[in-house]
Structure formats: structure tokens, C-alpha cells
Amino acid sequence: MSEVPMSEVPGTTEDELEAPPVASVAPEAAAEPEAAAPVAVADATPPVEVAPGEAGPVDGTAPAAPVPAGPAEVTMRVWRGDQTGGEFADYTLPAQEGEVVLDVIHRVQATEAPDLACRWNCKAGKCGSCSAEINGKPRLMCMTRMDQLPEGPVTVAPMRTFPILRDLVTDVSFNYEMAKQVPAFQPGPEPPGGYRMLQIDVERGQEFRKCIECFMCQDVCHVIRDHEENKTRYAGPRFFIRYAELEMHPLDTNDRRELVRQKAGLGMCNITKCCTEVCPEHIKITDNAIIPMKERVVDSSYDPVGWLGRKIMRRHKASPEEAARTVSEGALGNGSPQESFGAASPEEAAAGNQ
């Protein structure tokens, strides 16, 4: 990984990631409607004449692509290489209306570079496979419209935090290892007539369960982006929302707070909100998951009775020791439960919340 000259790419240095370049489009801005004129029924232009057997959603051929309003050509500056190193290669193609970055990458594959590696599945922003650093900012390739990027070459690089497999594809197994460390959901006994939960109580967890596991929050998190050594003791934002989701689940009885503090390294997060900024699902990772979790972890140390009082419908909580025992041995480091990392002390965590 260290041999990859990613730092040479404009916009991939830490500073620029902390403060996204003005020219780059933030997710919120991408959602603004002024970018393209909505089609209204009331003043719709007369329907396109569609001859039978031609066009239409049914038959083989598409309606002729409208002449693009923007530039006639697009240039993709794509990182090509593997663990041993690599470099950026430029591909210039004719522009087409309405395309996202992934469309253009696919056209590069189909024409100039059939072996260009890129991971993707749904192409609709639902599976979280096609994460990359576009003009230096982590984005889903399938949800980044070409016409909303600044003019000029579009730089597409793999996520920097994970080891390169090939080209745009990284080895994200770190995340799957972290997932194994999360003690499973453990509901209390089912009451007669089944579990009951109110919508207002499930909504907190539902926000976190929108996560599509694109791992861009992990990619952008300085704790592991800039400190490889922390990967053994820091679960990262994706798993902090998983812990928060379980912690806030009305039926769950497992107590994972000590685990989150000690082994998952919650205290190392210094709340820069980089994760929240890149989340394509607009999950408020920092405000709604990490900060409340830091508070709960503090509460559990100093005010266990008050913490219990705030829990609703909890029948039994496993002790931290019980929860920790359900964690499989190994990947999260072999430190003792007493070990604490970084700014993990409850006082510091609380201070960070002010």
C-alpha cells in the first residue's frame, strides 16, 4: 500500500480530504434539483413519436441519445496497478448525456481496457460496491454524475485506506474481520403474542441499518487512513453505527459498551465528522451514533443506574464480560480487557463531546 503513489494525486492528501475542495460536489449539493430541469407533466413537450417496432421501452433499440449539452469529450484519469505499484492512465471518450462515473468506466472497459478492474453490482446506489476516490473525494461511482463534476479530467483512484488488489479494487477484508467481532443480536424471551416495538423506537436503529457498507466512512477516517497500525484496535465508523444500532435496539439484551470502548477503540475517534460527510445514505454517523455511544460508555462507568433507567423494554443485559466472551478470539488484537487505546479514557471522550 505504501508504494502506491496516491499522494501524488491532486485532492488525495489528508488536508484536502479534511476540507473538500470547493470545486468538488458535496453529496448534499448533488441532490439539489437545479442541476437538471425536472420534467413536468403539465407543460410536457408533446410525446416523442414512437413508431411500432422502434424505440420504446420494449423493443431492442433505444431512442437516439440526445446531443449532449456539455463538453463533447470526457477524460478519465484512472489509477492502474496492483500491490507492487502503478500509475494513472488517461482515457478519452465521447461524452454522453446523463452518465455517471461508473458508466464511463464501463465504456473504458468495453472499448480500451477490458481488464480494467472495478468492483460494482447494482449501479443504483444500493449495494455499496463501487466506492472510489473521485477527484480525491470518496464517492460511489454509480451515483456521481459526470455533469456535476468540474470540467477537465476526472480522476478515479481506489480507496486509499485499504490494500490495493488491482486498479480500482481494494481488499476490504478488514471490514469483514471487524464484523466478526460484533457480538450478535440477542433478544429477550418472546412474550405471548410476539414482540412489540413502536415505530419511534425502531427508527433510531433503522437510520443505521440504511448502511450499504460502501466502507467510505472507513476509508476517510484518519484513525486508520493515516495510521495502518490502528487497524488492529479500531473498528471504525461503520461498526460504531452497528454497535449503536444494537445498543439502541429495543429488544437486544447484550451489553457491548465496554467492548466498544476497549477493543473497538471508540475513544480514538476525535469526532471530525469526516465519516458523516461522505456517507451516501446521509446517516448522521457522528451525531447520532458515535457521540451517543461515547456518552453511554461514559455513563456505564459512572452512572450504571441512570443508564439502566433510560433503557426501554430491556429485560436482561449481559454483563460486559459475558458480551466480551462471545467475541471470537484473534483479529482485534490480543490485548487484555483492561487495555485502553489512544484517547480512550471516558473523561477525554466526554470532553470531546462538548
Binding site: 441532490a31 434539483p33 416523442v48 420504446g56 423493443d59 431492442g60 477490458p114 478492474a117 469483514y176 425502531v202
Partner: protein
Amino acid sequence: MAEYESHHYDVIVIGAGGAGLRAAVEAQERGLRVALVCKSLLGKAHTVMAEGGAAAAMGHVWPEDNWKVHFRDTMRGGKMLNNWRMAQLHAQEAPDRILELEAWGALFDRTKDGRITQRDFGGHRYARLSHVGDRTGLELIRTMQQKVVSMGVDVFMECKVLRLLADAEGRISGAVGYWRPTGEFITFTAKAVVLATGSIGKSWMYTSNSWESTGDGHAMAIWAGADVIEMESVQFHPTGMVWPLSVRGILVTEGVRGDGGVLRNSDGKRFMFDYVAPMFRAETAETEEEADAWYEDHINYRRTPDLLPRDEVARAINSEVKAGRGSPHGGVFLDIASRRSAEYIRRRLPSMYHQFMELAGVDITATPMEVGPTCHYMMGGVRVDAETEAATVPGLFAAGEVAGGMHGANRLGGNSLSDLLVFGRRAGIGASDFAEGRSGDPTVDDGDIQTAIADALAPLERDGGENPYDIQHDLQETMQALVGIIRTGPELEQALEKLGELKERTQKVAVGGGRPYNPGWNLATDLPSMLTVSTAVAQGALNRKESRGGHTREDYPNADPEMGKVNFVQRQTDERGPYAPISINPEPLPVMPPELAELFEEGH
């Protein structure tokens, strides 16, 4: 001789969507050694795309609902071509499967009294779909993914299976494939193999399916000598995005209509009232007032025709566009903006809101969507025993979209997610029982493995030849134009001819680069599957000389009662493989017992 790594299990499950995950949970709980093998990363399977919900007659919203009503809806939706026993088991067991997910941590949307709420969907008499906004599939996947991980199932991610392997007695005994990240080969031996490989949609130009839907399971089953049925029954979902071109085909959930959205043509007319088939007339509203009243009162009013089964709606949209009453980009309008508040739309349909805002620049709370049919779902597939999901070849099981029978000629929305759960579990049980009853260690033939590896490597070793992307493009164009939503005999014959040419060309494919994560090579190994299933679809469509469900023949526009009594069964016998012929024969459908048959008589 190519080298490969070997793994030994009791049960291997190929595919990690809803059905594969559910099967793996079941087999692992039995204490068997289980491997879950998937082409993508865990949690990325196409099930995440399912939006609207999982159908289960829990009766939380309408106490009148029960499994018999659900069963009847399913059979009628499938134009009575379903395997009745599968439809019955599905309707009976779906509620337990949903509640089970809740006990595994799923957070479904709730009723006011704290139970799982249910939404309306096409073809379902009562609001029946358990859901989480419009991202229900993601909830299913994540819940079962987390369950599988916590149980310690061995997962082989980004591992593509090329062929099934059999022992000397013809029992399925393993599989051979390769790791996508490294291109290294891998073999499994197993006492039972569960296929849960999903769909075939990638052979069409406009599809809601991802790149993974290349019909690997359908094809591998055929090559292994198993029967497949109803391959002509391909569902074109009525509402896919039509603009911009790059997103054409991406799904727009039926939930939009379930939550009050209506279809309009360029005159602003709700045209679905003109397309109510006799079969559905008695229970469909005749006026807009009646249709709108139905949303609040299902007992005293009849349902809106916007929620007719998908095949009916897709054909109606097709007709409107052909008559020149389409939208500017060749679809029709789906309007929820004028009918529900912006707040309601954003809460009920958050994914749709973002999808249109971010990909098309359209605010669906203010403007209608443009939609048109998109290739969506494969009803046909591996012929299985209804109780165990055993295929016709011993040791092989299939569940989910790769299996046939459950949905007949047309699937109702919401019945897919519940299908995955019900039959995923049953396949897990069936495979586990088979594995436990099988004596001795399964054996596979190294010669078969070497052949599969040699076939896979050939495109990398060829100097100069066909570009796999060109072949895929030509295949998609052929299937879209000639084996699409409306079919004719001459066009289907032409399609088979073109597929023959594409098979020739596929045997000359050459790709550059190496084996590690090489998408050109990966596509080259997908093409044989795509061609086999495309051939089976075209053959089935040519033989079913009638119109029924998802299969519409312009030259045979009506349903033929005699054809409604048979399945078209396809198989390879002596000669097998991607380029061997596939036979096709009609075989009688299983006959429904009288106590179920009476549900379809007058008065029900």
C-alpha cells in the same frame, strides 16, 4: 495440469442472496460443515435491490387476510401455471419466516400497536407486504448476513463457480470455480449442493438486474443434466427508469403505486382503467373515485387498476407508448407528487426520492416520474420437489429465483423475498437431510475439473479473437429485440439463429491481461451461462404458443386452456455443456387437490 486448492464440506451453498443465506443458516444450525460461495462481496447480492417488501399473510393490517387468500392471489397472479404445492407452502410459512427475521434483529416498520406493518402491492387482495421503507431487501440481506457471520459459516467471497461436479454414480458432489481477486482455481467437494444463484436478467439490454444475474445456476443445472421448467416466463417489471439512458432499467418500486401513485399517459389520463382483463374485472375499481377510496377501505371498495399484476401493467404501458401516448423519453408517467404530501413521499419512499434526485435530477415530490418496462425477474428455473427443493439430479437443490414453479407465469410483487425465506430454509433442510443420509466421502473426477479449468483459461490463451464485451452487447440487443416483452414465432426463430452465431463467436473469445481481478476474463466466463439460459428462454417462448403471464405472443394473443395444463421442461441428456443442444417437452402440471381447487370457483 492446472493446480487448484481443494475444500471439503457437507453442504455448499452457491449464491449469498436471500435464499443462499437462509439455506446456509439452516444447514449450519444442523451442525453440518457449510460453505457459502458468492461471486461478489458478502452483502452485495441482488436481494439488496428489493424494495417494496416481503409478502406474508400475517393479518396485522387486515385481519381478514390468511394463507388461503395469499395462496389464491399467488396462483391467479401466476395464471395458474404455478406448482400449487409450492404456492401453498409459501403462503402458509411466510409469516413465520418474517417473524423469525425479527428475532434475528431485523427492524421492520411498525403498526400503531407495535406489530410489523404491511403495505399494499399489485395482485395482493390485502395489504400484506412487511417492509422497511423501500429498502426491505437490504434489511433481509443484512439481517441474515449478520446471522451467518455470527454462526461462523465459512464464506468464500468473490469466488465464481464454473461447473458442478458429479461422482461416478451421477450424484452432485462438488463444484469448481475461481477466486476473482487472484484468478486461482478452487474446488469443493460436498455431499449436497444448493443453488441460490438468482436471476438471468443481464442477457437483456434494459434490466433492473446487476452484472451478477448471468444465470450461472440455471446453466450449471442444465449442464449437470437437471430439468428446468417455464424458462419462457420472464417478468418485465412495468416501472423501470427510462431516462437518462445510462440508468434505463433501474427499478422504480411498485411501492410507489402501493402508496398512492398512479400511472398516466401524455394526456394525463389514468389509462389503466382501459386495461382490466376479464379475470380481474370483478375485483377492480371502475372509476377513479372508487379506486382512490380503496386505499382507505379495502372492504367496501375495489382496488385500483394501477395495482393489477405486473404482466398486465407492463403490457398496458407498452401499448400506450406504441399508440403515441408515451412520455418524452419513451415511457409513461408515474405520478405520486400530485397525490401525496412531500413529507409522506420522503418517509415512505426514501430510496426512490434519492434515486430520482441524484440520477435524473427529478424531485418526485413535485414532478411525475417517467417509467417503462424493464427485465426484472425469472419465474422459470430448476425443477424442484416442492417440499425439499431437490432438483431432478441427486445431491442438487435449488431455491429462490434459480428455482422454477413457485410463481408460475408471473410473480406477484413481494412474493420474491418471502420465497427466498421459505424455500431457502427448505432447501437448507433438504440438502442437510440428503447430506446426512449420504454415506462415504463424496468423490469428484479430476478430469472434469481439468476440463472446466481449461475451458475457463482458453480466452486468456487465445491470440486475437472476439471481444467478450461485444458479444455481451450483441446478446443483450438480440434478447431485447427478439425475446422481449412481446414475442412472435418468426422473431424467436431468428433469435435462436443469432444465439447459434453468438455461441460460435464465444468459442473464439480472447481477452488480454492476467487472471487477477480481470473483468474482461470474468465476463468471458459468464458468457456460456448467458447463452445457455438465453437459448432455453427462446426455446420455451417458441414452444408456448399462447400468451400467459410474463410470456406474450403477438401471434397467439390469448391463453390456451390446454397449454395451461403443462410445463415446458428442458434438459440436456447425452451431450451436455454450453454448446450442446437442449431438449424441450411439455409435461403435465401437478394437479391441485379439490379442497384447494374450490378456492378458485365463483364466490371466493
